[in-house]
């Protein structure tokens, strides 16, 4: 019985249905059921992928997008975790800083882009700062929440066992908040991922979002799909990557 329950719960993602879909797509394109100039078959997309990656064009765009996402996660996420922990820890800091976070938090982050452009010009800095800010707000908000939700008794236990300020921070606040910090990082990545496409659609001349938009306008549809699938791939790597790192760093949690 338990074996059966476990087999329901622990389903690994199988690649077979996806492979089947690719084959179907190829077939319907082959027999002419779909317009291949709009929906090029996987074989054509694959060929384009190899060509554009080998000649370095797509590789450059991939690198541009990847860099933006990574920088926003590391800088924005890092600042969010750091300041979130400090705000959760010090009531005074929370009183002063938290209102900014709370007010900015619900703003659709794209609207910050024009402000950034007006301050820093049409530069890479503006693009990256916008993304950093978005990640920062989400992660900071989640981190403050995480610290606030740590059960009071753990603070008592720590103080009773002689923990000082540093001890409390290291032994209670950081590990106590860690699981939710990783939820925040996941959410932050989600937002930065939407933002990067929007930013690259409208205000960049590099990156996978830029390739998608310009390929659509120039009607180089296979290239559009290559960029689209590469973005998909980045998403998969990051979402599962963040989850795995989180699991690795919080071994005390029950994982299903």
């Amino acid at each position: 019985m338990w074996g059966r329950v476990a087999s329901y719960r622990r389903t690994r993602i199988s690649l077979k249905p996806i492979a089947a879909l690719v084959v179907c797509w190829e077939l319907v394109a082959y027999v002419g059921l779909i317009n291949v100039s709009f929906y090029p078959p996987p074989s054509v997309i694959g060929q384009t992928a190899v060509e554009t990656l080998v000649d370095g064009e797509m590789l450059g765009h991939l690198r541009a997008s990847l860099t933006r996402v990574l920088v926003s996660l590391v800088v924005g996420g890092g600042a969010g975790v750091g300041l979130g922990l400090l705000m959760g820890w010090s009531k005074r800091l929370r009183t002063v800083l938290f209102p900014y976070v709370a007010v900015l938090y619900p703003v659709p982050k794209v609207v910050v882009l024009p402000i950034m452009f007006s301050v820093f010009g049409l530069t890479e800095l503006s693009r990256i700062l916008t993304m950093c800010l978005a990640v920062f707000l989400l992660v900071a908000m989640n981190t403050v929440d995480a610290v606030n939700e740590i059960d009071e008794v753990y603070f008592e236990v720590a103080v009773d066992n002689g923990a000082g300020t540093v001890g409390l921070f290291r032994e209670v606040i950081v590990p106590g908040a860690l699981p939710q910090i990783f939820s925040g990082l996941s959410l932050g990545f989600g937002v930065s991922f939407i933002l990067i496409v929007v930013v690259e659609f409208i205000a960049a001349d590099s990156g996978l979002g830029y390739v998608i938009w310009s390929s659509w306008r120039l009607f180089t549809i296979p290239k559009m799909y290559v960029a689209l699938f590469l973005i998909n791939l980045i998403g998969i790597v990051f979402i599962y990557g963040i989850e795995e790192i989180g699991n690795y760093l919080t071994p005390w949690q029950q994982h299903t």
Partner: protein, 278 residues
């Protein structure tokens, strides 16, 4: 062991014979500020806990038992009166150590790191603190689980971790806040025995808060009954039972008598606190 010996070993006689006072509480008062005003948790509380005594504190819920422990431990500052611990502060050991109710151990630390936590905070080297922790983990029968995380343990095992941590700290006074309150009857009885044997080896003072009268009688040298809010000591009952109090040696009749005495004292308080609401 004859009646005479038993009498001679009762806590009251020991006190009369000059056993020194360990915790002296005089006219203690404490007030909580809540959203809807202030609550007087303790008022005019007087108590003397003797050195090496197992002192149990019972009373209706909300009578300030836990508040009292937190004041003795220094986790809470009190408003009026005084709590004096008449012992010299040990150089490299804490004066008090708490055993908490449920959830008193860190979910993010393994059993051994939970037990070694107090030692770590006092700067004991990793090698030495693990050595000490292992000793006490062994004493509470958790050696197989030293690297397990709390979510892998049962409620009773978690409480043993909390007890092992307190004993690894080797304080002068143990403060226990209903440590077995959430456990089933069998586990509870088993852990009571374990606790008594640890206490016997340590020769230290224990203040043990519980709402379970039988538990208080089973464990304590004396049982202090606290009155309803604001809390203070209403009566102290001597538990004149031999030690070691193994199961087969417990005189059920005497226990029932003691139970009645404590119950009468408490039930008056319960009625009073319920009557006040009308």
């Amino acid at each position: 062991m004859g009646e005479q010996d038993r009498r001679a070993r009762s806590a009251a006689d020991r006190a009369r014979a000059g056993s020194s006072v360990c915790i002296r509480v005089s006219d203690l008062g404490h007030c909580f500020e809540t959203g809807s005003g202030s609550v007087q948790a303790l008022e005019g509380m007087d108590l003397e806990v003797y050195d090496r005594e197992f002192f149990c504190l019972v009373g209706p819920s909300g009578c300030g038992k836990s508040t009292f422990l937190r004041i003795v431990s220094g986790l809470l500052d009190h408003d009026d009166g005084g709590v004096e611990i008449e012992k010299e502060t040990p150089a490299d050991r804490p004066m008090t150590s708490m055993v908490f109710q449920e959830h008193g151990i860190f979910p993010w630390k393994s059993v051994i790191d939970n037990v070694a936590f107090g030692l770590k905070m006092r700067g004991v080297s990793k090698e030495r603190r693990y050595e000490i922790a292992r000793e006490y983990i062994g004493k509470v029968d958790l050696s197989e689980f030293e690297s397990a995380y709390p979510h892998e343990l049962s409620g009773g095992m978690k409480q043993r971790v909390g007890i092992a941590r307190a004993f690894a700290n080797d304080p002068e006074i143990y403060l226990m806040d209903e440590p077995f309150g959430s456990l089933d009857a069998q586990t509870k009885e088993f852990l009571q025995d374990e606790l008594l044997s640890l206490w016997r080896d340590s020769k230290k003072t224990v203040v043990y808060v519980t709402h379970d009268i039988r538990e208080a009688i089973r464990l304590g040298d004396r049982v202090g009954v606290m009155g309803a809010r604001p809390g203070s000591i209403k009566q102290i009952v001597d538990v004149d039972l031999d030690r070691p109090r193994t199961r087969e040696r417990l005189p059920t009749e005497r226990i029932d008598e003691l139970y009645e005495t404590v119950w009468r004292s408490i039930s008056g308080e319960v009625e009073q606190s319920m009557g006040e609401r009308h």
